[in-house]
């Protein structure tokens, strides 16, 4: 990082991602199933909408703008949460769901669906506005439960590899409980669960947008403080200890922040796959560094851009409504990662 050449390149790449993100954000607002022209969009965005059709104002204000913000913030959160997991476990296949946090969310939602059916006889799908709040709350509770469990275990295991195995096992347990609950649920509820499981950036209304954004921004900013411990942990646990790092304490913080980000995103948007796995690889290959002081902001920006891009694809003009976001993230993300791995890996010089 000392030579100015690579520093300039880093700033260039950072600038490129920022411009790309802004551009995609704007394009997300511009395109949709209803055609709204550029001038009207500018008027709405800059509060000068007297001559604009109120229906169009409502579409931009209540749907397109919040959806773009949610995509950007959720993308950034999942991407940086994935980076944290990949570095902690020194494993390129780790992602935010590796410790079972998302599986916990799914279990929470499944419990809610089952309980509603058992106690009121009605399916959650029929509860209207309460449904999405309830599902969000259930998802968050499930994720939190697993997170606390993992954090407690993290203070008791010998090393991070054991923790990784425990996390994967917890994910399996939560997954199988979810499967059991689904088996005894009504058809409508299973359908609702499947749709929730596909994820969406359009579930956060204007009223909840500030809370969602603030909760995640808080977590994203906290990752900056992890840059130094993450850099040291790249050397391996034993070297890290010798360099005065409290490995357990820092593993705890890394899991806490990564799990928190994942839990919040999943509560509002469902289990969004792949962004957390793919984006850290994209950032590493773009910046050609292992330094988290670069990778953290780089991953945040790349995560925003990729999520916005996926969101755009999911509602390409001509499509009625939204494609499930999970289908799009994997469809776009997987070939991208394959391409990164398959092309001749050039060593940084």
């Amino acid at each position: 990082m000392t030579d100015t050449h690579s520093l300039t390149k880093t700033y260039q790449a950072m600038f490129f991602l920022m411009v790309l993100g802004l551009l995609l954000f704007f394009v997300n607002i511009l395109f949709g199933s209803v055609v709204i022209d550029f001038q009207d969009i500018m008027r709405i965005l800059f509060n000068d909408e007297i001559n604009v059709d109120p229906a169009k104002v409502a579409i931009v204000r209540s749907f397109r703008f919040p959806q773009a913000v949610v995509a950007a913030v959720a993308g950034a959160s999942l991407a940086v949460a994935g980076l944290l997991m990949q570095t902690l476990f020194r494993n390129p296949l780790a992602d935010p769901s590796i410790l079972g946090i998302s599986a916990g969310s799914s279990l929470g939602v499944a419990v809610l669906l089952m309980a509603t059916a058992a106690f009121s006889g009605a399916s959650v799908a029929s509860l209207g506005i309460w449904a999405s709040l309830g599902v969000g709350f259930a998802a968050f509770s499930g994720a939190l439960l697993v997170l606390v469990l993992i954090l407690v275990i993290s203070t008791r295991v010998r090393n991070v590899v054991s923790l990784l195995i425990v996390g994967i096992m917890i994910a399996y347990i939560a997954g199988s409980l979810t499967g059991l609950l689904k088996y005894y649920s009504s058809k409508e509820d299973v359908q609702a669960f499947v749709i929730w499981g596909m994820g969406t950036f359009s579930n956060v209304g204007t009223s909840q947008l500030p809370v969602f954004t603030l909760l995640l921004l808080f977590g994203i900013l906290a990752t900056i403080f992890l840059a130094k411990p993450l850099n040291i942990m790249l050397l391996g646990e034993n070297y890290a200890k010798n360099l005065g790092l409290h490995v357990k304490r820092n593993s705890f913080l890394i899991i806490l922040i990564s799990g928190y980000l994942t839990a919040v995103v999943t509560a509002y948007a469902g289990p969004i796959a792949f962004i957390g796995l793919a984006v850290p690889h994209i950032a590493r290959n773009l910046f050609r560094t292992s330094d988290h002081r670069v990778l953290i902001p780089g991953t945040i920006l790349a995560g925003m851009a990729l999520a916005l891009f996926c969101n755009l694809i999911s509602r390409l003009p001509g499509l009625d409504g939204n494609l499930p976001i999970n289908a799009v993230t994997s469809l776009i993300g997987a070939p991208f990662v394959i391409w990164i791995i398959m092309r001749k890996r050039q060593l940084p010089s």
Partner: protein, 332 residues
């Protein structure tokens, strides 16, 4: 000399569930002084790694005391330990994009702020460390692209950047070819003698240690650790006792371990040039005892660059030792 590390009645080993801890050898009492270059050696399973992990605070001792500069190891904070001793392990960082400079810079991390910003002094120290092990040209190379010898030097540069009085190295020559081993030993020797670093390295490469180390700590299972300079340990038969096996013993003349010879023949050798050593080497390897030529009726002489095999009745010449060996084999 300035005592840096004092080990008193240290018992090492592992905790066992429900039983008293398993101690690997009798209590150890030994010291390290400034500028000491010490090899920790012993056969596999002697407890080298356990002692190494205990000294680097990765494993608690069963009993006894380790003190650095007169203060017990457990009384130092994690950060203080980082400026007391540095380690070089057999495990290596494997991140694809990690550069040599980044790894050496990690040696400065205990002394930087929360964002690990390197000041001018830090950068100067990193560069100095790279130069000390002569890898300044590799600074911007990817660590994973280096050879094993180069990687080992990078890890040593990291230890130097950490600027600790003591450096512990676990099997530093394990994956190196022979010239790289010698080069590494020479480097460590230089750091001990010129920079007054106290260096303890573990190894089971006996010949290398005899050749380079100033002092050896010999370990074997259930035997007391003994400390001494290599030559004394050789002559007192300690090397033989700690490393030897039934049919394998340390030959004081050659400085090698040799199998208890079972000769199936005696060959005289009447050569006085450098070839004598290698002809004898080959003959011994094949199980012939080499004796003075006047005591036998089969012997080898050198004519120009050819080997002559003389028996009672005839003289045969051979181009190479290989052909000579084949001829001797046919006679017996």
């Amino acid at each position: 000399m300035n005592k840096l590390l004092e080990i008193q009645a240290l018992e090492i080993g592992y905790a066992q569930k429900g039983k008293r801890p398993l101690s690997l050898l009798p209590p150890i009492s030994v010291n390290l002084c400034e500028g000491d270059f010490v090899a920790l050696s012993g056969p596999n399973g002697a407890g080298k790694t356990t002692l190494f992990r205990t000294l680097t605070a990765a494993l608690p001792p069963i009993s006894g005391c380790i003190s650095f500069l007169g203060k017990p190891l457990q009384d130092y904070s994690a950060k203080e330990k980082a400026s007391l001793f540095s380690i070089v392990l057999t495990e290596r960082p494997d991140d694809f994009f990690m550069k040599v400079f980044d790894i050496v810079a990690a040696g400065r991390y205990p002394f930087t702020g929360w964002y690990a910003k390197l000041d001018k002094k830090d950068v100067a120290m990193i560069e100095e460390s790279l130069e000390r092990v002569a890898i300044q040209d590799l600074a911007q190379r990817a660590f994973v692209s280096l050879s094993d010898g180069e990687k080992q030097k990078v890890m040593i540069a990291k230890a130097l950047a950490q600027n600790t009085p003591v450096i512990f190295l676990d099997e530093p020559t394990a994956f190196l070819d022979f010239p790289s081993k010698l080069e590494l030993m020479h480097l460590l020797q230089k750091l001990a003698h010129e920079d007054q670093k106290t260096i303890l390295f573990s190894s089971h490469d006996l010949e290398l240690m005899l050749r380079s180390a100033d002092k050896m700590w010999l370990m074997a299972k259930n035997q007391p650790l003994i400390s001494g300079i290599p030559e004394d340990l050789v002559l007192s038969d300690a090397i033989n006792n700690y490393f030897g096996r039934n049919n394998l013993s340390f030959d004081l003349n050659s400085g090698h371990f040799m199998e208890q010879p079972q000769y199936h023949g005696k060959i005289g050798l009447n050569i006085h040039s450098v070839e004598a050593k290698w002809v004898a080497h080959a003959l011994q390897r094949k199980g012939y005892q080499v004796i003075e030529p006047q005591n036998t009726n089969i012997f080898v002489e050198l004519q120009g660059h050819q080997y002559e095999l003389r028996t009672n009745d005839r003289i045969q010449t051979y181009q190479s030792i290989e052909k000579l060996l084949y001829a001797i084999h046919k006679i017996h």
